[in-house]
């Protein structure tokens, strides 16, 4: 018998989602500029926490998160654009949920296609393949008339709210934390520490790596969908290699495999460029310098306190 009532972890998830929705209902009172940034923060939390499952816990190195985000974003946006005129106002939330789900699902399927051949190999192949994959997605988007090609996809309905974003961020955090904090999930870290030893302990490394990769891709797709319905405009250049790097930096800065640290890093690194707007053209230089300094000062990650991880596992 499964228990019907939420226990420890599930209660936190529920609390997070309710809180997001409640706060969201007051969001009309917020400054629109700040509201936009807060939603950016939520989307980046989803991206960083989901990438952390791949790059942090499982010890792989994916550079394709922007690519999955693009797959999810374009899918969800196109779906909304086509379907929203046919759906009555009251069913908009359902439509949005389906759009996000579709975006996530397609990203996950693409992730499966990229992951299965690549993750059989050990080492840096994943980085190279996902780098290429991200570029391919971008070029495809740039040349497909149906999604606006180079001029971008315009007029996407504004469905993303603070409530949606943070409710889904709570789901992402819950899924990653619940997976890793189980006997099953210790396998992800085992694979990251020593693949050979893991396979001798009955852990199928390829299966774990693909699971992490596909789960991460799914949430990147969902984040893409939120992003599309937040900005109401998608352009292929928004999903370039640098976007992937941004997310990787959040994971590294937060401390690989430390969910709480990665969340804080996602918040900081989203707010930082906004705070630095006063410096105009020096903004990105200062941003980069700060990251370099942080990495020198704390190579193990800013918030990596209890579970220190020394270098790459053999």
């Amino acid at each position: 018998m499964m228990s019907v009532f939420p226990n420890g972890a599930k209660r936190w998830l529920l609390l997070g989602m309710v809180l997001a929705v409640v706060v969201s209902s007051f969001s009309g009172a917020f400054n629109r500029y700040y509201l936009g940034i807060i939603i950016d923060v939520g989307i980046n939390i989803i991206l960083a926490v989901s990438l952390n499952l791949i790059n942090g816990h499982t010890g792989q190195f994916s550079l394709g998160h922007a690519g999955f985000m693009a797959v999810g974003g374009y899918t969800a946006a196109k779906f909304s654009l086509v379907c929203s005129p046919m759906v009555p106002e009251s069913l908009r939330p359902v439509l949005f949920l389906v759009a996000l789900g579709l975006g996530g699902l397609l990203a996950a399927i693409v992730g499966l296609g990229v992951g299965i051949p690549t993750l059989r190999l050990r080492g840096d192949y994943l980085a190279i393949v996902t780098l290429g994959f991200g570029e391919i997605i971008r070029v495809i988007a740039q040349n497909t008339e149906a999604v606006g090609a180079a001029s971008g996809l315009k007029g996407i309905p504004k469905y993303t709210t603070l409530g949606w974003t943070f409710a889904l961020a709570a789901v992402t955090i819950y899924v990653v934390a619940a997976l890793v904090n189980s006997t099953y999930g210790r396998g992800f870290i085992a694979v990251s520490d020593d693949e050979v030893a893991a396979s001798s302990m009955g852990i199928n490394p390829v299966r774990y790596k693909v699971t992490a990769f596909v789960t991460g891709a799914f949430f990147a797709g969902v984040a893409g969908g939120l992003y599309a319905h937040h900005k109401q405009f998608l352009s292929p250049t928004g999903f370039d290699f640098l976007k992937s790097i941004d997310i990787v930096v959040m994971v590294i800065l937060g401390g690989m495999g430390r969910t709480a640290g990665v969340i804080i890093a996602a918040v900081l690194l989203t707010l930082l460029p906004e705070v630095l707007r006063g410096f105009a053209e020096y903004r990105m230089i200062i941003y980069s310098l700060l990251i370099v300094c942080l990495m020198i000062a704390r190579p193990q990650g800013l918030f990596n306190i209890s579970r220190k991880k020394g270098g790459a596992a053999a």
Binding site: Y184, D193, V196, I203, R307
Partner: protein, 263 residues
């Protein structure tokens, strides 16, 4: 007549032109302690890797309890009942001592992704059972006090012990130990011998021991197989092996050989 626990039938493996193990026959019965020895480069570790599924034999077959296993991957073999340790300790360094052992218990569990996400009662009870099981194992081997330490921060001898405990957590029928005495001092070796004997009696499993240290091997093994240049040159009780002229020749060389070497 039941099939032996492990039955290696004329297994051969070649790497390019090099035949690392040639026509190896080896049987291990339930709850038997067998030693595999040989000079450096004799193919001990390769033979070990054949049995644990890291390599697949070029020729020959390997059976576990009568079913063919030579096409299986290591994680599948673990599920069937073969567990191993490594010559150069390979723990999950960033995981705690507790989690190192816990990760190894997953192999026989049904709770996968969906129950980890749903966290229902069956899952929680399962996790509690795992916790008790792991703590019991750690207590038996006097590692409970390190429970929350990072595995890589443990002293060398304890790391070796933890690796054995981790292998036992997969509930093996056959435990493969790859040079467990490497890097140990005489006192630690004594302890290790007692430990191996204890594991065999307590868990009723078969153990295949690959080892350099003659004292350890001769002291505890019931049967010993000797490899040289990838071929098995002798097999028998420790006493018989110690007197076997071929074994002595392999380890110390013969006068004839010295002459041919000089020539």
């Amino acid at each position: 007549m039941s099939a032996p626990l492990l039955d290696v039938q004329s297994a051969t493996i070649r790497f390019g032109g090099l035949t690392a193990v040639c026509d190896l026959n080896l049987r291990i019965e339930t709850n038997e302690l067998v030693g595999l020895i040989g000079p450096n480069g004799a193919g001990k570790t390769t033979a070990f890797n054949l049995i644990s599924g890291v390599y697949r034999p070029t020729e020959g077959r390997i059976f576990l309890e009568g079913s063919r296993i030579c096409q299986k991957r290591p994680h599948q073999l673990t599920k069937l009942g073969i567990a191993r340790t490594f010559q150069n300790i390979r723990l999950f360094g960033s995981l705690s001592v507790f989690d190192n052992v816990r990760a190894a218990t997953q192999v026989h569990r049904k709770h996968g992704i969906s129950s980890a996400l749903w966290r229902g009662r069956a899952f929680r009870e399962g996790e509690q059972a795992v916790e008790r099981e792991v703590l019991d194992l750690l207590a038996i081997f006097d590692l409970a006090r390190f429970r929350d330490e990072e595995a890589k921060s443990l002293p060398y001898g304890d790391q070796r012990r933890l690796e054995i405990v981790r292998a036992l957590a997969t509930k093996p029928k056959l435990l493969l130990l790859d040079e467990p005495a490497a890097g140990m001092n005489p006192t630690e070796k004594e302890e290790l011998m007692r430990l191996i004997q204890f594991i065999k009696d307590k868990f009723h499993i078969a153990i295949l021991l690959v080892e350099h240290d003659m004292k350890v091997v001769m002291g505890i093994c019931q049967r010993i197989a000797v490899l040289e240049y990838g071929k098995k040159i002798a097999e028998g009780t420790p006493d018989a092996i110690q007197k076997d002229p071929k074994v002595i020749a392999a380890y110390l060389g013969t006068e004839d050989e010295e002459v041919t070497c000089d020539a």
